[in-house]
Symmetry: C2
Subunit: 736 residues, 2 copies
């Protein structure tokens, strides 16, 4: 191409914005007192055993927090064996962290006291803020004001607390006394109840945590702050997020993409309600839901999206305890045919490969397994296999170098065999590990009465599930994440050939002249030309004879379409006439369109007709854009027409698009094979389509007045021949 | 239409075949000794505690079977306190049921002894038959021979046994001593291990069973026999099947459709491997997998298909303990926001509705809930809600007449609250039930340390799950089943206008003249005409000038296509030329096709060209057929082209198609909306498409020599105008 492309990565590009290295350091420093306080004041500590204040104190004490705990309560001098203070000011030392559980009406004055005492961090458990609406919401507004500039970082309000399980800290500032095992998973939850459920289940699930934060209404500390903090936390290897909203999507994207390269981020996003407007003028807007935006965001920054709570928890144990698989070859070892087949089915459904063992491996297995054993994959050691047979089978499969992951599926036949079988499995894993074979191992343990057995060998936890279909899902997620992580970050091309000034002027003038609405066909074309988009040839005629002259110039067959910025759905009006083969047909088309407009009383909406050559080659695709109030511009790509509107085969991404985003959008639609050459048709110029996506991204990032855009259809020509935009519409709105 | 339609239901039609009322009665009678024996002989009973023979005896004794048990063992006179007999003949009474656990080598002689003793039923636990291949398979062949005509019904071999939990029988003839709760679910499992896992989990899952059968290698008693038996069994209300194969699909369809009208059948089908031939000549054959056939079969006879083991078990508890929901309105009652939202999300994902309570119901709830409670749906009673608040909230929601089902999602905040909350929930349900409100209730109980709590009120089990996403899936399955059940059975129209003799003759002649292969274009057209299929107009030309004459007669624009029974993929060869607008274009098209065939050395394959009018109206669809070796003819329907081949948007059904099958196939594709009028296009003549499907079904049922068929494209015209088959190919094979 004739013009220069300046490439900038998303990260570089955004470093000038909200998140510099400087603010990263500040964030780390300001959040440290939450996770490593030396002194804690519990404001609202209480002797009433049913109260939250009492339960918080009990949790703090039971967790063996090594620092000092100062209960604050104006009505007593001692609680649970600790000296209590009437107020924060009376505490005779610095306070690193205040945990606040006082009635909502007292919160503001306590915050003032914290400020006076120079407390750097506070966790506000108290509920009764925005979640209750009305006065609670206004109280939350005041709280936010009070915090701003106070020097205090605040978690909450309306939250369930925080745990920091670093062995040097051992802090449980929540109101459950159940402390999970120590490990490498950090969890942030926007729901207290869900956080409680996860934290209390952790023991049973063998889920080791580094820290847990209940975000509550997050008036100050956000999930983004926490991800950035955990990036630097050496104890954290996997980050788990339960989210109901996305705060500051651009910053989330920026941080998650960076952090995710080293530490997998798993998110469960709840509240997937439709916000798309059915009455929207563009197809893109009609389909763009909050859910689509969230999916796009997560895909763009490598976040692993769990679709159910079970998957969320399974991913947590699977990813935190085992290395990522390095390929799709999965071995299945079972003592029972049926569950083994179900496991194999789920592997196939997730796109994994279940290869038969080599002849050598089969011989090795045959040398110690029962003659009734099945030596294919799944390898079935049969129901009564011994400890030793299990150990040797596991070792043989893991050391065969034929597998990227191993799933062991066990159904208990006799209760008394469970211990020996478990020991055999662990012995086999240990032998393989010591021989240097580190492939991930997952276990499905179906042993009634012994379901919660822990499998730990040399400190390594083997993730254990109850149903044979789960491990395959974990492996597929891990592979997708690993593939994302291994690719270089995307770059944002800066097309220096674009004439942004003209594009801006067209939008501004249309807004000034007519107010918000669609650009005329002429304006649309001029804008696309300014952005160096490849428009199909053709021109506008304002009467039948002019249309005929244009058609003759173009050569038959031609298409004749209404040009109007007021009438959006042209097909339904019969205002798109295709395959016209002679002058008379063009004349009839013009007059027909005119007549139909007259009949519906909309003649004045007719700017003329667009006369174009019939595009007979190429594949029809569409590119669209709509603005989400939270996520900003969402770009859509699909095959157009029924594919997008009826089948929903469309990919969304959030701007700015990187080259990688554009590539993945095109390859992500189900109909992608149609673009690679299908039944004798030539393949499409994918580079040209990518460029179209990237130029649209640039346009809508630069001109916020553009509120919706549809390029539909675009004809993708064979490689090297580019693409042609055949129809386009652009809507402008005033910036608020 | 001008011709008579004789309508026959599938059931009527098949009653002349394998399953008459007579054989149904025989089946019931011959299987009764398995489930209600008065005397049992345990052949291979043993004193060795590790042996299966010992464990079977232990299970029989522990289950308090009220009849007589006769151990048979030539080496001893007493086992576990029972008198033992050297052989079956020595037993001094009739034996209703023999349970056999002897080495495989002894099995045939024991069967002979059973025959001599006139034992009507035997369960063969012994393994070492076809599942081991080789000699085991040949032994199984001998066993099958021996059973045939012996008067013995046999379950197994290679099975895990049988349980009959009718309180009057209390029979556990398996080798697990764990007896599940008594209830209304009958289970047949083709995998012993999976059956074991389900039976042993039943206690924890509150899954009450009526009977359990491990099918093993099913040389005699099949799953079909069992379904028919359970149809008559008053204790069985739900039938659960774990299947790895489908035995006799037509009989399965026939029985399952009949039984399913009264008792839901839930199936988990494992072994979903691809058997479709990528190299198949027709698109239908390429896509028809064993999985597609199984899905079709289940859809046609109302079987509820579970996709995972968890779903299978969840359906079992959900369907056996609650009435079917009568609508989509689901209420959610929770004490925790996050899990409530996840539950609501899953409802939306399953197509359910989560309506806000009416103003009246909200006021009622507000009168006793905390001011912090959320009164929308999900109704959030908040974390510390009391027993009484739970009871009243449950009762209020169930009695509001605003909901078709209620899901209660509970996260334990304090362990000591679990008991009162559980009591409150049950109290609320009881009050609603007594007031006549019977909507189904499902529970998600997330209470660590108290996960396996049973919820039973006045004998009613409330299905209880661990994740908030599961109940919505159960409700969706139940609604689909209920909708299926409420519709009248499908009918098979007998088109008396078809000329089957001609159709048969065309196939026979082609086979005789050229052997197996595709029919010529002329033969194909003649056959379709004989079947009264609506062919697009057009004819075959064997030279360019003939093609031009045909085109002139038809009127421009026309399509010119290669006619050849040897060349199947015409598009790739450039042998389909569309939109030809004048004589020269037709001439060029003919010569071009001829030249390309010459170039690839296939000129002799050219039967000529088909000249047709261009179909500019209507929607393109396709109908196809392929024969599955097990399932017989599979009919496919889709929008054709990319929709079927790339997007896989296709519906399959097994023949004979009923009118209901045809209707559901057309409505079942994702692109269905395109057939109902889309963006100004007229809707399609759905009746004509249904008729095409039904006529194809008739054809391939009548002429088994037709091995593959593609009608692609078919243009569906507006309602009343029918459809036009534009291209077709039919392959014939000799019957073996």
């Amino acid at each position: 191409m004739a013009y220069l492309i300046v490439e900038l990565s998303v990260n570089h590009r955004q470093q000038g914005e909200s998140t510099t290295v400087q603010t990263q350091d500040n964030n780390l420093k300001s959040l440290t007192p939450f996770f490593h306080p030396r002194t804690i004041a519990l404001v609202g500590a209480s002797r009433g055993q049913a109260s939250i204040g009492y339960r918080l104190l009990e949790s703090l004490q039971k967790s063996h927090f090594p620092g000092s705990i100062f209960p604050v309560n104006p009505h007593t001098t001692e609680i649970a064996g600790l000296r209590s203070f009437p107020s924060l000011q009376d505490i005779p030392s610095l306070v690193d962290l205040a945990v606040i559980a006082v009635p909502a009406g007292l919160v503001l004055s306590i915050i003032d006291e914290c400020a006076a005492k120079k407390v750097p961090a506070a966790i506000l458990i108290t509920a009764g803020f925005a979640e209750t609406g009305g006065t609670g919401a206004s109280l939350e507004g005041q709280l936010r004001e009070r915090i701003r500039g106070s020097g205090i970082r605040l978690i909450g309000p309306n939250c369930f607390g925080l745990m920091s399980l670093d062995p040097a800290t051992r802090l449980n500032a929540t109101y459950t006394p159940m402390v999970p095992p120590v490990g490498h998973v950090a969890i942030a939850s926007e729901s207290g109840g869900l956080g409680l459920a996860v934290v209390t289940a952790a023991q049973r699930l063998n889920l080791g945590l580094s820290s847990f934060v209940s975000l509550g209404n997050h008036v100050d500390v956000s999930v983004n702050d926490l991800i950035e903090y955990w990036e630097q936390d050496q104890h954290t290897k996997v980050i788990l997020l339960y989210l109901e909203t996305i705060v500051d999507p651009p910053r989330f994207r920026h941080i998650a993409e960076r952090v995710g390269r080293n530490k997998p981020i798993v998110a469960l996003k709840a509240g997937r309600t439709q916000t798309g407007q059915d009455a929207a003028g563009s197809h893109t807007a009609a389909m763009a839901t909050n859910d689509q935006a969230v999916n796009a965001l997560f895909a763009q920054c490598g976040v692993i999206q769990a679709k159910t709570l079970e998957e969320f928890l399974s991913l947590a144990t699977g990813l935190s305890n085992q290395l990522l698989p390095q390929g799709r070859r999965v071995g299945i070892l079972t003592n029972s045919g049926g569950p083994g087949v179900l496991c194999a089915d789920s592997c196939a459904a997730e796109g994994l490969v279940v290869p038969d063992p080599s002849q050598g491996t089969q011989s090795a297995l045959a040398s110690f397994l029962s003659p009734m054993a099945a030596l294919h994959n799944p390898v079935d050691v049969i129901g009564f296999a011994t400890e030793d047979q299990h150990a040797r089978a596991v070792e043989t499969m893991l050391t065969s170098d034929e597998l990227d992951a191993l799933i062991i599926v066990h159904v208990s036949v006799r209760t008394k065999d469970n211990g020996p079988v478990a020991a055999g499995i662990l012995r086999g894993i240990r032998a393989a590990r010591r021989a240097g074979h580190k492939q991930p191992v997952y276990l499905c343990w179906m042993a009634e009465g012994d379901l919660d057995r822990s499998f730990i060998v040399d400190g390594e936890v083997i993730p254990t599930y109850k149903h044979p279909e789960i491990p395959a899902r974990i492996i597929r997620h891990a592979l997708t994440y690993e593939a994302w992580r291994k690719q270089p970050p995307g770059k944002i091309p800066a097309y220096i050939d674009v004439d942004l000034a003209t594009a801006r002027e067209i939008c501004a003038k249309a807004l000034a002249d007519r107010g918000p609405g669609w650009l005329t066909t002429k304006e649309t074309h001029a804008l696309l030309v300014a952005m160096k988009h490849p428009l199909a040839s053709g021109d506008i005629a304002t009467n039948a004879e002019e249309a005929v002259r244009l058609a003759q110039k173009i050569g038959y067959p031609v298409a004749v379409k209404l040009a109007s910025h007021q009438i959006v759905h042209k097909t339904e009006l019969g205002a798109v006439q295709l395959n016209l083969v002679d002058d008379q047909a063009v004349r009839d088309a013009f007059n027909g369109i005119r007549t139909r407009l007259e009949q519906v009383g909309k003649l004045e909406a007719m700017e003329g007709v667009l006369v174009q050559p019939m595009q007979s080659d190429g594949v029809e695709v569409m590119v669209g854009m709509t603005r989400d109030p939270l996520f900003g511009p969402l770009i859509a790509f699909g095959l157009g027409g029924i594919h997008v509107e009826i089948l929903g085969d469309v990919q969304f991404r959030i701007t700015p698009l990187t080259d990688r985003d554009a590539t993945e959008m095109i390859r992500g639609i189900k109909g992608y094979r149609l673009l690679t050459g299908y039944r004798g048709h030539p393949p499409a110029d994918l580079e040209a389509l990518e460029e179209t996506l990237l130029r649209v991204s640039r346009l809508v990032e630069e001109i916020p007045e553009i509120s919706e855009l549809d390029l539909n259809p675009i004809f993708a020509l064979p490689p090297g021949e580019g693409c042609r935009i055949v129809d386009a519409r652009i809507r402008v709105m005033r910036q608020t």
